[in-house]
């Protein structure tokens, strides 16, 4: 394994209903350090399942996911002990379509919960770090607000920095702007863009083709649980090969 491969996915399969539904049907791909990998494809093509498999929110039916040298689909870690998936999840931030902020906690508490309770960061340190992150996304003044008091765009920005507070090595985004009013899409994409420029490794499922073109360095096209085409944004959008991709692009562009 070379050093710049952060995640290696090998022949990943996820079946539902005893194999009747093949949400993932053999996906093989490497995610390198610094990649901004954008995943596109029609609805139901397995994009969410793929992303959620990466941190084992979905347990794959077969195949392997090697994250930072460890096959996290195995029951036992390299040391022979039971694999601690929570340890690996700390290194993978995830942002959801519906934000999933904790409604009973303030913005600051949302952000410090995992650092304090999982990483055992001292409370003051966690708070300072959270405030710094909030500052970066222009929300420091909302630290003591509750999620319900924020707009959708603000919520998603908080969700992003909440994940960043754990200092992950990779960030997974599952349609982060799909639940937003159009006027709020930009503010979230801007944060993601900045993150990409700062060198964060990212896997992004999105329908924002502008973002894919401008920020992504690789674009993956999925359909029917399979990875049908992969290439640079120029290749995928400029000269798509697979007819399914051509058809898909003609509909969304």
């Amino acid at each position: 394994m070379t050093n710049d491969k952060l995640i290696q996915v090998k022949d990943l399969k996820k079946y539902y209903n005893k194999g009747k539904i093949k949400a993932l049907d053999g996906v093989t791909v490497d995610i390198n350090k610094g990649d901004v990998m954008v995943i596109i494809g029609p609805s139901g093509s397995g994009k969410s399942t793929f992303l959620r498999s990466l941190n084992l929110l979905e347990v794959p039916t077969s195949g392997s996911i090697i994250f930072e040298g460890v096959d996290i689909t195995q029951k036992k870690g390299p040391d022979g002990k039971k694999l601690d998936i929570d340890l690996h999840r700390q290194k993978m931030g995830m942002v959801f379509q519906h934000f999933n902020l904790f409604p009973h906690k303030t913005i600051l508490e949302n952000m410090t919960l995992a650092p304090i309770r999982v990483k055992k960061v001292p409370e003051e340190e966690a708070k300072a770090k959270a405030l710094e992150l909030l500052n970066r996304v222009g929300l420091a003044d909302r630290a003591d607000a509750y999620p319900i008091q924020l707009s959708g765009g603000q919520k998603q920005r908080v969700a992003i920095v909440r994940a960043l507070a754990m200092e992950p090595d990779v960030m997974l985004f599952d349609e982060p702007t799909s639940a937003l009013d159009p006027e709020m899409v930009g503010e979230v994409l801007d944060v993601m863009k900045e993150l990409a420029h700062a060198g964060m490794t990212m896997a992004v499922v999105t329908h924002e083709m502008g973002f894919a073109r401008e920020v992504g360095n690789r674009v993956l096209f999925m359909a029917d649980g399979k990875l049908l085409e992969e290439g640079s944004p120029e290749q995928i959008f400029g000269s798509p090969q697979n007819p399914r991709l051509q058809d898909f692009l003609s509909k969304v562009l």
């Binding site: 941190n55 929110l57 929570d86 340890l87 999840r89 700390q90 993978m92 931030g93 995830m94 959801f96 519906h98 999933n100 902020l101 904790f102 409604p103 009973h104 906690k105 919960l113 995992a114 309770r117 999982v118 990483k119 509750y146 999620p147 319900i148 008091q149 969700a159 909440r162 994940a163 754990m166």
Partner: protein, 233 residues
Amino acid sequence: MLTAQGFSKAFEYWQLFLQGVACTVSLSALTVIFGFILALFLAVCRMGKMKVLKALATAYVELFRATPMVVQIFIIFYVVFDGVKVLPGFKLFGFIRFERFFPAVVALSLNSGAYLSEIIRSGIQSIDGGQTEAARSLGLNAWKTMRFVVLPQAIKNILPAIANEFVTIIKESAICYTIGVQDIMSAVNAVKGATYRMGEALIIATALYFCLTYPTSKIIAHFERKMSVGDKR
């Protein structure tokens, strides 16, 4: 007929009533604590992946909800503890007979655990799965996710139902006088034995039970308002 004289006679036994209140309160408080712990355990079993535990917990809950309290308490006292023969006979606070009090706590806890577990289960299941996913993706393990993310929200949702169950426990505990627990109802019985009058004692008991249940529901309603802070705009 209720008479003023009857009341003043009944009041002569105020000490018994006072002891009865102390007994009912400690009985209910212990039941709430043990019942809640049992309920959490049952709820976790019923929602878990282990099929055997799931089936056992389900059977337990259905059984206890489908049979009368008085039958349960008699089985615990007369069968499980073999009357007063098994437990040591000493007095708590100088007047509560442990060998009768303890089986009552056990029976009430087993019963309310079944009811509370259903309340807790529905509360936990009412929380959006996205909450758990977000917590797990941040690296929280299953227990911490439950403790810091799911349970606080679930308990807020089910507080009215829990309050209702607490009040029910206080009221249902009155059945325990049938196995010789010296609660409020047993004070009524003692007064009846001594004075051949029951009406006045029953009125006093009514007032005492009300004084216990009404503030309980009010206090919980207060916490409910405090906890709903995240819902305010």
